[in-house]
Symmetry: C2
């Protein structure tokens, strides 16, 4: 069963690599009174974090109020060691403690994370060096061909049944949707995203497309179905590909789509379009020049490329907890680093669109679905897993709201290509959201 | 008279700094036969330039045909020294020789320049170091506050009467127009550009705008007239400002617009929008961090900034002749360098649009107007001036066509601003080209 595989790939890392999670040992100290320097430490920690409106409740029920403001949130620390983990490695420990239930929150999790991100973001500009070092996120894991497989397996092979519980039902897209207006549903916005991407690529029947990283293959099917193009889609997640192939067969699109189980680095041939939605985050900065060269040789002279990726306003490492527990190897590029990919290949950047708040909305829709199926998910995995994933969804929503993450869609062509669209008017002639969804 | 001032500022530089231009001396050699190594030199030069389809006619009438292709153009060298200048410093000498009439072209000047750019661009990738050094463009002149005044005076104070002969008549815009479709006229496309920019800034009545570098002030008048906003526009070209102020008064917009004769670095106050059309090319790379900080402090928390500038696919110095004779201090940033301006201020990039071929079309419309008024321009200045300007217009058209120049419009906001437009749909609801123009 897929689920039992998941338990094995997910839990060993937690048990061996993190001592924060071995509950019974530390709970033994939870009956002693807090020391006065422990209160002082919390005050210090909160000032460093830019004084978010948070009350701390200690293991014995004592409360430490935020300075000069009414608390909007209360954090309860279950035991003294939780406090020391938090001080020693706040980025990593917060997630681990919350997942383990040793840190409890009263108040909305997403709102709390947004308040925290905003407070830390402004405080960080005045931090001394040592504090930057303490709060620093570590470098992402390697993303060579063999490690990439491991990294992707860790996250994407959790089981299709799991993702079906909270992604859109039409194409199971685990990337930012496109909300033409804020009232649109997740189902509508995910289809609108596919349409928006196809329009940006100016697809015409008979064209050929190559896709690097295809998830459950929804974009390829949308392109084949609605634009009559031939698609080669690469992915290294076997479970996703099995689903993608079965769906394509079911829809009678087998002739137009080839799902290839291989690393994107092994893409062969030349195409009218090169597209990659939500893979660049896993590519690793050191591989950007090679990616650029790959696109260079895979794109026909008049072809158009589109990369869609989480990004940053300036270079910054991924949050340590996310990188360690959720997305090994992840690194969202800054807009400047993103442009280096284009510069390296002497490409001409035609269009950059930032869909930051669209991702906040997507994630909040995912959270709604996730919460609605929470009991089932806990039965499939366990309470720890459910709490970790809710924190990840809430934290990501908050990061997009607070502006610490961006979502860039970048369109580019070979530098000497003059077969360019006259303007972007054609993207907006009709609504991208399909009717009747 | 403005024109006589121009003669003085334009000619001394040519007479003192460039010996290429002192005709009578060198013409004396024009009656001798070419040496065999001079023929060899031309062959070598052409191979270095990537073998463009060009025939060389020497001063005695001898021709050197291009290898393995039919020539599309013929270049006639008037004297032996012209050949040596060309070999020693091709980027600079080509322009000077052409302007002086010591290099004549048969064939369309723009097409020739495009063929040359394309050939050199591909050849350049295989050049040895010494050749790169030979063909190198030098660093742009300084752009400190005092030099900036000098640089801008050199080009923009040539006389309003001169620019009126070939720019659009509505707002005299000396920047890239926006052609919603290729059939639009220059007049239509220049107004459409203003409209497109206003839409990107999401202007609403009562808002305040600051403009860095305003040319003849057309954007400010368009904004005040059509959007009811208050505009502060900065410029250091006195002659342009006099025109701008007179026009604003004539149109009854004096209350809404303040044209400030000062360097953009002295902008004061906070505004709903920060806009700069075609000034970044003159800012100088070393001043990008300061520009970013200026925008940071000039933009209200919910404000939108737009920079419109010539750019590059990758960092590259301005063509030596253009930098020396036409635009002192000019440096178009690469897309990566452009993004560094945004990264430095922790801005969030919302939208990048590349209007490269729109600039090619704009320039070609300017060339048509210029050519139609060529005799008058030669009477105002002289033959040398007219030839230099035609080469500059043709060369720029060619550079945009060949992809060696780009035109980027970049929209960005403060990183923590969530008052963002939902999508770009609103830019395309109605045509940007005004009716009845």
């Amino acid at each position: 069963m897929a689920q039992s595989t998941v338990r094995r790939t997910h839990h060993p890392e937690q048990a061996t690599k993190s001592n924060v999670l071995s509950l019974p040992l530390e709970r033994s100290q939870a009956d002693r009174d807090p020391h006065s320097y422990e209160r002082w430490l919390i005050g210090k920690l909160m000032r460093m974090a830019g004084a978010p409106p948070v009350r701390f409740r200690l293991w014995n029920g004592d409360c430490i109020e935020p300075e000069q403001q009414t608390p909007r949130f209360t954090l309860t620390l279950a035991d003294p060691k939780a406090l020391y983990s938090l001080v020693a490695n706040p980025n990593l420990a917060f997630g681990d403690l919350y997942s383990a239930g040793r840190l409890e929150l009263e108040g909305d999790l997403t709102d709390f994370m947004e308040a925290l991100y905003r407070a830390v973001h402004s405080a960080r500009q005045k931090w001394p060096k040592w504090l930057n070092a303490l709060w620093k996120n570590h470098n992402p894991r390697a993303t060579g061909i063999s490690e990439a497989k491991e990294n992707i397996h860790h996250h994407y092979d959790l089981g299709n049944a799991f993702y079906q519980l909270w992604l859109d039902s039409a194409e199971m897209q685990y990337t930012c949707a496109y909300y033409e207006d804020a009232t649109k549903t997740l189902e509508q916005a995910q289809l609108a995203k596919l349409e928006h991407v196809c329009r940006k690529l100016r697809l015409k029947p008979g064209m050929t497309v190559v896709e690097a990283g295809c998830g459950w293959g929804g974009l390829a099917r949308y392109m084949a179905r609605n634009y009559g193009v031939t698609v080669h889609s690469y992915n290294i997640s076997r479970e996703q590909l099995e689903y993608a192939r079965a769906e394509a067969e079911k829809q009678g699109l087998g002739q137009l789509i080839t799902y290839v189980e291989d690393d994107y680095r092994n893409i062969k041939g030349q195409y009218d379009a090169f597209v990659s939605i939500g893979m660049l985050e896993h590519v690793g900065k050191e591989n950007y020049p090679a990616l650029s060269e790959l696109i260079k040789r895979s794109l026909k002279p008049g072809g158009i490329a589109l990369l869609h990726s989480i990004g940053r306003n300036r270079p910054m490492l991924m949050n340590a907890w996310i990188e360690k527990r959720i997305f090994p190897g992840a690194y969202p590029p800054s807009i400047g680093e993103f442009m280096e990919i284009c510069e390296h290949g002497d490409f001409s950047v035609l269009d950059v669109e930032n869909l930051r708040l669209h991702y906040a909305q997507t994630l909040s829709h995912w959270m709604d679905n996730f919460t609605a199926n929470q009991n089932q998910i806990t039965q499939m995995y366990d309470e720890h897993f459910t709490r970790a994933w809710k924190l990840y969804l809430a934290g990501s929503t908050a990061a997009f709201r607070a502006g610490s993450l961006q979502l860039f869609q970048v369109v580019f062509t070979h530098g000497d290509n003059n077969q360019l669209p006259q303007s972007r008017q054609d993207l907006y002639t009709f609504p991208a959201t399909p009717e009747g969804v």
